[in-house]
C-alpha cells in the first residue's frame, strides 16, 4: 500500500492558484490601465493643443493675409473706404478674440515661447490693421497707407515666427509619434511576455487542479456511487494528507461502520423473523389454554378450582400480551400516524421489558398523568423510542447497586404531551452528551449500535416533537420526549366498537361458523360460543369453510388467517367474488396483525381482525357487534330494495 504523501493543504493550494491568477490579471490590468493608458493619453492630450494652436494661428494668419490683401485694394470713395475698413475688421475679428492661454499652458516651454512670440506678432499686426481701418474711415489716407506698409512688414516677422513654430511643432509631433510607437512596442513586448508566461503557467495550474481537485473528487464520487449501489466494501486509496485525504479517510471509516451496522442489522432482522415465527407458534397454544380455562370456568363450581382456572387464564393472557408486544416490536415499523394514547404506549413498552426489570431488580415507578394524553404519531415508532430509552436506562442503572429505580413520567402542558424516562445511573459525560444524538455515538462500546438515540430523535422529530436529555454526572440522566398534543381523542383501530343500546347481550339464535385448523383452539371456542347460545358449525380450513357457507349462510364467520390448503384471506377473497353478503360477516383470528400485510393485496380492515390470544368476552362482544351491525345494514338495504329474496 502506498503511503500518503504530505503536501500543501488543498485550501492553501487553491488559494495560491487563485492568488496567482489574480496577480497575473492584476499585473496586466494595472499595466494597461495605470501605466499604458495614461501614458498614451498624455501623449495624445499633449498633441491636441499643438494641433489646435497651429489651426488657430493659421486661421489668424489667413485672416491677416486677407486683410492685407484688402489694404492693397484702392478705396477711392468714402463709402468704399468705410466698406474696406469694415471688411478688414471683419476678417481679423473673431479668430483674434479667442484666448490661446489654455492651449499654451500644456505646451513644452520651447514651443510655448515660440508660439507666444508668434501670437504677440499676430496681435501687433492685427492691431496695426485695426489702426489702418480706423485711419481709412477717418479719411487719413497717407497714414492709412503707411500703416498698411507697417502691417506688410510685420507679416514677414509673423511668417518667420509661424514657420519656426511649425518646425518645432512638427518636431514635437514626430517625437510624440515616436514615443507612441515606442510605448506601443513596449506594450506588445510586455503583453507577449505575460501571455507567454500565462501559457506556461496555465497547464501547470490546470494540472494542479486536475490532480488535487478534479481527480480526487471523481474518485470520491465513484466511491459514493458504489456505496449508493449497495457495495459497502468500497474503500478508496488515501494518496495525500490534504483535505481530500481526510475526507476519503472519513469516507472509508463511514463505509466500514455502515458495513458493520448492516451486518448487525441483518442479524437483528433474522432474529426478529425467528422471534415472530416462535411467537406465532406459541400464540395458538396460549389461546387454547386461555380459551379452555375460560370455558371450564362456567362448568366448575369449586372455588379453589375456579381460582386455579382463573390463574391459568390470567397467566396465559399475560404471556399472550408479551408475545403480542414482542411481535409488534420486531416487525418492521409501519410509518402510519394515528391518534395515540401515549400512556398506553408507555405501559406497553414497560410491559415489553418487564422481564428485564425483574431480572435486574429494577423498580419502575410510573407517574403517568391520569388524564388521557393523546398525540398524533406513529405508535410503533413511539414504542420503539420508549423501549430504547428504557433499555438505555436499564443499562445505566445496572452499573449501580440495588435498589435500582427508573421513573417514567407523562404529563401535558399547554399543547404538548411529555414523557420522561429518568434513571439514577452514573449519568452522561458532558463531552459525550454534546454528541449523544449523532449517529454512531455510543457510550456502550461495541455493545451498542450508536444509532438508538439518533433514530429515536429522528422518530420524535418526524412527529413534530423533540427528544432532549438532561444529565448530572453521578446522579443520573433524564430523557424527555415532547410531542404535539392531539386536539381530539380518536378511536384506535384495534378498539372494539361499543355495543349499541338495546342490542342482544347473548349469542342466542346466532349461526356461527368457526374456521380454524387448530382443533385445540376451535373446539373450546365452539364450546364457549355454544354455551353462549349460538349454533356453531366448525371447519378446519378455507375450503371447508366455503362449503359450509354455501350450505347455509351463517350470521358470523370466525376464521383463522393461517391455515393449510386455503387460508383465511384466500377464503375471504373467494367469498368476495362468490358471496359478497358473506364477506361482511367474517371476523379473523390472527397471531400477528402483520400477517395480513404479508399475505398482500388484501382489503381486509384491521378492525375485522382479533389478535390471539383473544379474550373470549371480547370475541363475544365483537360477534354481537358484527351481527347487529349487519342486521341493521341489511334492514336498511331491504327497505331500499324491497323484500329479502331469502
Amino acid at each position: 500500500m502506498t503511503r500518503p504523501r504530505v503536501s500543501l493543504s488543498l485550501r492553501v493550494t487553491l488559494m495560491l492558484v487563485i492568488a496567482g491568477v489574480a496577480l497575473y490579471v492584476l499585473i496586466i490590468a494595472l499595466y494597461l490601465t495605470a501605466w499604458m493608458r495614461p501614458a498614451t493619453e498624455r501623449l495624445a492630450r499633449q498633441s491636441a493643443p499643438v494641433l489646435y494652436l497651429f489651426g488657430e494661428l493659421s486661421d489668424r494668419a489667413l485672416g491677416i493675409e486677407e486683410a492685407l490683401r484688402l489694404t492693397r485694394r484702392p478705396a477711392l470713395t468714402p463709402q468704399a473706404r468705410v466698406q474696406t475698413a469694415e471688411q478688414v475688421r471683419s476678417v481679423i475679428g473673431d479668430a483674434g478674440d479667442r484666448s490661446l492661454a489654455e492651449a499654451f499652458a500644456s505646451l513644452p516651454s520651447e514651443m510655448r515661447v515660440v508660439l507666444a512670440r508668434a501670437d504677440d506678432r499676430a496681435s501687433r499686426l492685427r492691431n496695426t490693421l485695426v489702426e489702418y481701418a480706423a485711419l481709412l474711415e477717418l479719411g487719413r489716407l497717407p497714414e492709412a497707407t503707411a500703416r498698411a506698409h507697417v502691417a506688410d512688414s510685420l507679416r514677414g516677422l509673423l511668417r518667420e515666427s509661424l514657420a519656426s513654430a511649425q518646425r518645432i511643432g512638427l518636431e514635437d509631433l514626430v517625437q510624440r509619434e515616436r514615443a507612441l510607437s515606442a510605448a506601443a512596442n513596449r506594450a506588445v513586448a510586455f503583453l507577449a511576455f505575460w501571455v507567454g508566461l500565462g501559457l506556461v503557467l496555465l497547464p501547470l495550474g490546470l494540472l494542479t487542479v486536475e490532480r488535487r481537485v478534479r481527480r480526487p473528487l471523481a474518485d470520491l464520487e465513484a466511491g459514493l456511487s458504489r456505496v449508493a449501489d449497495g457495495d459497502l466494501n468500497t474503500q478508496l486509496p488515501v494518496t495525500r494528507l490534504d483535505e481530500f485525504g481526510r475526507v476519503i479517510t472519513h469516507f472509508n471509516e463511514t463505509t466500514r461502520i455502515l458495513r458493520d451496522r448492516a451486518q448487525e442489522q441483518g442479524r437483528f432482522a433474522a432474529a426478529g423473523e425467528l422471534i415472530a415465527g416462535v411467537a406465532h407458534e406459541v400464540n395458538n397454544p396460549l389461546m387454547a389454554i386461555a380459551t379452555l380455562a375460560t370455558a371450564r370456568l362456567d362448568e366448575v363450581e369449586n372455588s379453589e378450582q375456579r381460582a386455579e382456572l382463573e390463574l391459568i387464564h390470567r397467566q396465559a393472557r399475560r404471556a399472550g400480551k408479551l408475545i403480542s408486544g414482542l411481535l409488534r416490536f420486531v416487525r418492521p415499523a409501519e410509518h402510519h400516524t394515528t391518534v395515540v394514547e401515549v400512556n398506553d404506549v408507555v405501559r406497553e413498552a414497560v410491559d415489553l421489558l418487564s422481564y428485564q426489570f425483574g431480572v435486574d431488580e429494577i423498580e419502575v415507578v410510573q407517574h403517568l398523568d391520569p388524564a388521557i394524553l393523546c398525540s398524533v404519531c406513529n405508535p410503533g415508532g413511539l414504542e420503539q423510542v420508549l423501549v430504547n430509552l428504557l433499555s438505555n436506562a436499564i443499562d445505566a442503572v445496572r452499573l449501580t447497586k440495588p435498589p435500582r429505580r427508573i421513573v417514567v413520567e407523562s404529563w401535558r402542558k399547554d399543547r404538548t404531551v411529555f414523557v420522561a424516562v429518568e434513571d439514577h445511573g452514573p449519568g452522561i459525560d458532558p463531552a459525550v452528551q454534546a454528541r449523544l444524538f449523532r449517529p454512531f455515538a455510543s457510550t456502550k462500546g461495541q455493545k451498542g449500535t450508536g444509532l438508538g438515540l439518533y433514530i429515536s430523535r429522528q422518530i420524535v422529530r418526524e412527529a413534530g416533537g423533540d427528544l432532549t436529555v438532561e444529565s448530572i454526572p453521578a446522579a443520573g440522566a433524564r430523557f424527555s420526549i415532547s410531542l404535539p398534543a392531539a386536539l381530539s381523542v380518536a378511536t384506535g383501530p384495534l378498539q372494539a366498537s361499543p355495543l349499541p343500546a338495546g342490542r342482544a347481550t347473548t349469542l342466542a339464535g346466532m349461526d356461527i361458523l368457526l374456521v380454524d385448523d387448530e382443533e385445540s383452539i376451535r373446539r373450546p371456542l365452539a364450546k364457549y360460543l355454544t354455551r353462549r347460545g349460538a349454533t356453531v358449525r366448525e371447519a378446519s380450513d378455507g375450503i371447508e369453510g366455503i362449503a359450509a357457507i354455501n350450505d347455509r349462510l351463517p350470521d358470523a364467520v370466525v376464521a383463522d388467517v393461517r391455515m393449510p390448503r386455503m387460508d383465511g384471506v384466500a377464503m375471504y377473497h373467494a367469498l368476495t367474488r362468490d358471496h359478497p353478503t358473506a364477506c361482511d360477516r367474517v371476523l379473523f383470528l390472527s397471531g400477528d396483525l402483520s400477517q395480513l400485510a404479508d399475505l398482500g393485496g388484501t382489503t381486509i380492515s384491521a378492525a375485522r381482525v382479533l389478535v390471539k390470544p383473544i379474550d373470549l368476552s371480547e370475541l363475544d362482544a365483537r360477534i354481537r357487534a358484527l351481527v347487529s351491525g349487519n342486521s341493521a345494514r341489511e334492514a336498511v338495504s331491504g327497505l331500499e330494495s324491497g323484500p329479502d329474496p331469502r
Partner: protein
C-alpha cells in the same frame, strides 16, 4: 553628551514682478528679518523693466525654478506672463502665488497655482455694474489690450452690460504701441459713448482718456486694475487722468492694524505711498513666509498649508484682508477715482 544646534535651513521665495516691485521686496525682507527662529527665508527678486512677453516670463520662471532651496514663488506680474509661467511651476511642483493676475484661466493653470486677486469675470461684472448703476451708462465703448488680461476683462464687462441691456458701441483692441488717438477717433465714427471702459494698462488708458475727453467732453472713463499705476499715470497725463475711475484691490486708507502698520512701514522704507499691487505682493510674500515658518521648508507642505487656509486652519490676516483659497473666498474689489493726483475710494452702491 553635548548637544549641538544645527544651522537653520535656508529657504528661498522667488519673486517675479516688474521693476515696480522693488519697494515691496525691501519691505518684505525687513519684516521677515524681524522674525526670530525658524528657517532663514531669502527673497530672490527676478524683475523685468517693463512688460511681460510670454517668452520672457517662461525664461524667468525656468530661471527661478532652478534656484536651490526655492520653496515657492510670488508672481508673475500680468495675467499673460503668469499664465505662460504657470506650467513651469506646476511641472516642478512649486507653489505659485499670483498677487495681481486676474485671468480666469489662472484658476485652471494647475494645482500649484493660487490666485490672490479676484478673476476678470468678477472684476468685469463689478465694473459693468458700476457703469450702469453709478454712472447711468447708456452706451459704452470698450478698449482692451489684446492679451489674457484685456480680453478676460472685456468679456466680463460685456457679459454684465449685456445682462443689464446696455449696448456696447465699439470694442477696440489696443496695445502699448497702438496709435490710440486714431483708434479712439475711429471708434467715435461708430457712435458716441457716455461711458468708456478701458481694459488696458496705464499708458493706453491715459491716452484713451486724453483723446476721448478731447472729442467727447463729460465722457466717463473706467479702467480695470491693470491701469492702477498711479504715479506714472498721473505724472504722464496730468489733469487728463483726473476723474478716471480705476479698480483697486486695496487702498492705503484701508482699516485694520495690519494695513496701517504696512502703510507706515512702506512709507518709512521706500519713501512713497503704497499702492494696491504693493499690498497684494506684500501679502503674498508674507503669507508664504508664514507658511514656511509654520509647516517647514517643504513645497508640498506649503501647498497643503495654502489649501487648508479658511478650513483646517484660520484664514491669513493680510494687509488686504483675510486670505484663503476655498470656494467662498471673496477677494476685495474697490472702486477708486483719481482726484488731485490721488486715488480716492468711491462708494459703489
Amino acid at each position: 553628551m553635548v548637544g549641538c544646534r544645527s544651522a537653520p535651513e535656508h529657504t528661498v521665495i522667488g519673486y517675479a514682478f516688474s521693476i515696480s516691485g522693488t519697494p515691496t521686496v525691501q519691505v518684505a525682507r525687513e519684516e521677515i528679518a524681524e522674525h526670530a527662529g525658524g528657517p532663514t527665508i531669502e527673497i530672490i527678486y527676478d524683475s523685468v523693466v517693463q512688460g511681460d512677453p510670454a517668452d520672457v516670463e517662461v525664461e524667468r520662471a525656468e530661471r527661478l525654478a532652478a534656484v536651490p532651496d526655492l520653496i515657492a514663488v510670488v508672481g508673475h506680474g500680468g495675467s499673460r506672463g503668469t499664465l505662460a509661467a504657470a506650467p513651469v511651476y506646476n511641472r516642478a511642483q512649486i507653489p505659485q502665488l499670483v498677487p495681481i493676475g486676474t485671468s480666469r484661466f489662472l484658476k485652471h493653470a494647475g494645482p500649484w497655482t493660487f490666485m490672490l486677486a479676484t478673476d476678470d469675470s468678477t472684476e468685469g461684472a463689478f465694473i459693468g455694474e458700476f457703469a450702469v448703476n453709478r454712472l447711468g451708462a447708456r452706451r459704452v465703448s470698450i478698449f482692451f489690450e489684446n492679451d489674457e488680461y484685456g480680453t478676460g476683462l472685456r468679456d466680463g464687462v460685456t457679459a454684465e452690460l449685456h445682462g443689464r441691456g446696455v449696448p456696447v458701441g465699439s470694442m477696440v483692441a489696443v496695445d502699448p504701441a497702438s496709435d490710440v488717438p486714431t483708434l479712439v477717433e475711429g471708434s467715435l465714427l461708430h457712435g458716441i459713448p457716455d461711458v468708456v471702459i478701458s481694459a488696458a494698462r496705464w499708458q493706453a488708458t491715459g491716452r484713451i482718456a486724453q483723446t476721448m475727453r478731447a472729442h467727447v467732453p463729460g465722457v466717463q472713463i473706467i479702467a480695470g486694475d491693470g491701469a492702477f499705476e498711479m504715479r506714472p499715470l498721473v505724472d504722464t497725463f496730468g489733469t487728463d487722468a483726473d476723474s478716471i475711475y480705476i479698480v483697486a484691490f486695496w487702498l492705503p486708507d484701508a482699516p485694520g492694524p495690519e494695513s496701517r502698520a504696512f502703510v507706515a512701514r512702506f512709507e518709512r522704507v521706500t519713501g512713497r505711498e503704497a499702492f494696491s499691487a504693493d499690498a497684494m505682493s506684500h501679502d503674498a510674500l508674507m503669507l508664504l513666509a508664514d507658511a514656511i515658518r509654520t509647516v517647514g521648508p517643504s513645497r508640498s507642505a506649503v501647498r497643503r498649508y495654502l489649501l487648508e487656509l479658511g478650513s483646517e486652519r484660520p484664514a491669513y490676516e493680510g494687509v488686504t484682508g483675510r486670505i484663503s483659497f476655498g470656494p467662498h473666498r471673496q477677494p476685495p474689489l474697490i472702486m477708486t477715482q483719481i482726484r488731485d493726483g490721488k486715488a480716492r475710494r468711491v462708494p459703489t452702491r
